[in-house]
């Protein structure tokens, strides 16, 4: 049931500490919960500003989940794990101890 492919886009504006933190956090969560089922695309708006309009980006960093639908957005440095998981609609499959 977790065979869906997760397409995640992380919008940043240059290599700011905030975006670096966000990327680090995202990679951590993905490895933990979506190992092998995800794809992360990093979009630097300083290089491609025209892409900001399409995904309705106004804050950075912003994480966009396009697939599976519905689209979800999480803004900020993703430092709160629970919020990110809720935001991505990821049911935490924590191993029962």
């Amino acid at each position: 049931m977790q065979s869906k492919k997760w397409e995640l886009k992380l919008y940043v504006a240059g290599k700011t500490p905030k975006s670096m933190t966000a990327l680090k956090n995202l990679q951590k969560y993905c490895e933990e919960y979506l190992a092998g089922q995800y794809k992360i695309e990093i979009i630097d708006l300083l290089k491609t500003p025209q892409l900001a309009e399409g995904d309705q980006i106004f804050a950075v960093p912003t994480l966009v989940r396009k697939v599976p639908v519905p689209m979800r957005k999480i803004i900020g440095d993703l430092s709160n794990e629970e919020k990110v998981l809720v935001g991505l609609n990821l049911v935490p499959v924590k191993p029962t101890s």
């Binding site: 919008y11 504006a13 905030k18 933190t21 966000a22 708006l45 300083l46 500003p49 025209q50 900001a52 309009e53 309705q56 980006i57 106004f58 804050a59 950075v60 960093p61 912003t62 519905p70 689209m71 979800r72 957005k73 999480i74 803004i75 900020g76 440095d77 993703l78 430092s79 709160n80 919020k83 990110v84 809720v86 935001g87």
Partner: protein, 577 residues
């Protein structure tokens, strides 16, 4: 020293950007501060979005300044539809790369916030939009939506401050809109960030009639009008009504225009009204005010000048039909485009709005004559003092444009003049009063000139007749009991005429008597003369006879004497022998 010189510089001329919005550039003396953000605030539905979109569209169309519109509320397509009703083709301007609309969609349900972030994404979008079309104008409508979509207001406030600084650095003239909050200009206190120019839009309802108003709360480094200015949103966008020059320095004309009623012109020094002057016609109901006004309109059109007729009581069709009954064909002038009616119920808008409409129509149609029939109906939407202030402004404006205006005002028979009328009377140049005279069981109309500045005018009350052939003003008759009008005048005239005939008859009789008397006397004189001739002839005859006899006697005596002498000589001769 330094401060004062800086201030002097600012007063000299703060660079400004023309908005292209009717009337606003006059109030602000040149538009909004160039290269700086301006805050437009007001309640929902007060016209903020239309105001800002017009700023962008006019910039692109009239001043060759491309603009970016960042919409936080409406989608680009929705905006295009909304402003299409104002006659702006947004899609065409977008295709021509003169305008760029970017809709920033913020939906709280889609967004989760965790940790630190900033609004760099918005800056990048805005910067990209500006650079892609070389925009000089930017609108952010309504940036406060960010506060609804995002929960970390600390970050938002810091970012907004940065945004306004960034806009200034970009050198774009920006409008930021904000919804009015409780006791504050905007809900989120945007006025703290925008310090150069703040404009408040207001939508007020008094007596169930709405009036939109605009007020410049702050305009740093520039003089500006501080009043509340009414404005109108119609099919051509926004028109703000500047309160026109408050100086009394209008040009005046000595040219005269006919009132369309020759006998009325005669009362006005024989030439009519001054061009560009204001005329008030007051009278009771049914006294013929509209007829006078229609005649004036007709005369104007006959001179091939345009005339604008504001009707507040009757529909144009009604006026045209009614005027036909007094032999006045207004239809042909309507057809030829010289006469334009504008009929509206006074309660359609507030007073200020009416004024805005007057201005707009007058500017569009460029008439030489304007008629308002009747102004007293305007009192239903405002009190007399408001009506007066509106009329002052209207007269002022019309005078500047050299347009002759005629107002009609309804008065009530019980009070000589109503208050509205008196208020207006001091403003107008010429005041004609039509009055009912009830006398002898009938009602008649009398007209007189209450005042007429700068011309000789008759002080006489005249009778005012509305006949099948039009309006006629006839001299009233002074009878032994005062002025006579109507059938009393007719009767008096009749009586006078009868008297005259009788008198004439008497005179004729006398003349005849004298004539016959003279004939008799003449005859007598002739007879006496002939008698005298006879006597004289007799006397002459006697005299001549006497003379003749004397002559003959003398002759005889001389002959005798001669004969005697001869005898004696003969005797002597014989003796000598």
């Amino acid at each position: 020293m330094k401060a004062s010189s800086k201030k002097g510089m600012e007063n000299k001329g703060m660079p400004k950007t023309l908005t292209g919005i009717n009337g606003l550039d006059e109030i602000t003396e040149g538009g909004l501060p160039k290269g700086r953000p301006t805050l437009i605030c007001g309640d929902a539905g007060s016209g903020k979005t239309i105001f800002s979109i017009e700023f962008i569209v006019k910039g692109a169309m009239n001043y060759n300044e491309p603009g970016v519109f960042i919409a936080f509320e409406e989608k680009s397509e929705e905006l295009a539809v909304n402003v299409a009703s104002l006659g702006f083709d947004l899609n065409k301007l977008i295709a021509e790369k003169k305008i760029k609309i970017d809709h920033v969609h913020i939906d709280r349900s889609e967004i989760e916030e965790t940790g630190e972030y900033d609004l760099e994404g918005l800056f990048i979008r805005l910067g990209y939009a500006i650079d892609s079309i070389g925009a000089k104008r930017v609108v952010l409508d309504t940036i406060e939506n960010l506060f609804a979509g995002l929960s970390n207001h600390g970050i938002l406030r810091a970012e907004l401050r940065r945004l306004f600084t960034w806009l200034k650095d970009k050198g774009v003239t920006a409008i930021i809109t904000g919804e009015k909050g409780e006791g504050k200009l905007t809900r989120q206190g945007l006025e703290e960030y925008v310090s150069d120019c703040v404009i408040l839009l207001d939508h007020r309802i008094e007596n169930q009639i709405s009036t939109r108003r605009l007020r410049i709360i702050k305009y740093r480094g520039s003089v500006h009008g501080t009043n509340e200015y009414p404005f109108l949103i119609d099919k051509d966008g926004i028109s703000v009504l500047p309160i026109t020059s408050l100086k009394l320095s209008n040009e005046v004309s000595t040219e005269r225009v006919s009132s369309g009623i020759p006998s009325l012109d005669e009362l006005l020094g024989g030439k009519g009204f001054f061009k560009g002057s204001s005329v008030l016609v007051s009278g009771t109901a049914g006294s013929g005010k509209t007829s006078i006004a229609s005649n004036f309109a007709n005369a104007c059109c006959n001179r091939k000048e345009r005339c604008l007729f504001f009707a507040f009581e009757e529909s144009p069709e009604q006026i045209i039909r009614n005027m036909k009954s007094i032999n006045l064909d207004l239809q042909k002038h309507v057809k030829s485009g010289l006469l334009k009616f504008y009929a509206s119920r006074p309660t359609l808008y507030g007073l200020e709005m009416h004024l805005v409409v007057f201005y707009k129509l007058i500017r569009e149609f460029k008439p030489k004559t304007v008629i308002l029939d009747p102004i007293t109906n305007l009192v239903t939407v405002g009190d007399p003092s408001q009506v007066k202030s509106i009329l002052i402004r209207l007269i002022d404006f019309l005078q500047k444009e050299q347009i002759t205006v005629m107002f009609t005002a309804l008065t009530f028979p019980h009070f000589m003049q109503s208050s509205a009328d008196e208020d207006v009377a001091s403003l107008v140049d010429t005041w004609l009063a039509v009055q009912d005279i009830e006398f002898n069981g009938e009602r008649n109309r009398a007209i007189y000139i209450m005042k007429s500045r700068g011309m000789k005018n008759s002080n006489q009350v005249r009778e005012f007749l509305i006949t099948d052939n039009g309006i006629e003003i006839v001299e009233v008759t002074l009878g032994p009991n005062g002025v006579l009008v109507g059938s009393a005048r007719e009767a008096f005239n009749l009586e006078k005429n009868t008297g005259e005939v009788l008198r004439k008859n008497a005179v004729e009789r006398k003349n005849r008597q004298i004539e016959s008397r003279k004939t008799i006397l003449d005859a007598k004189v002739a007879k006496l003369k002939s008698e005298f001739e006879l006597v004289k002839e007799e006397l002459d005859r006697i005299y001549v006879e006497e003379e003749l006899r004397n002559e003959i006697a003398e002759k005889n005596r001389k002959q005798l004497m001669k004969m005697r002498e001869k005898k004696e000589q003969n005797i002597k001769k014989e003796k000598n022998k």
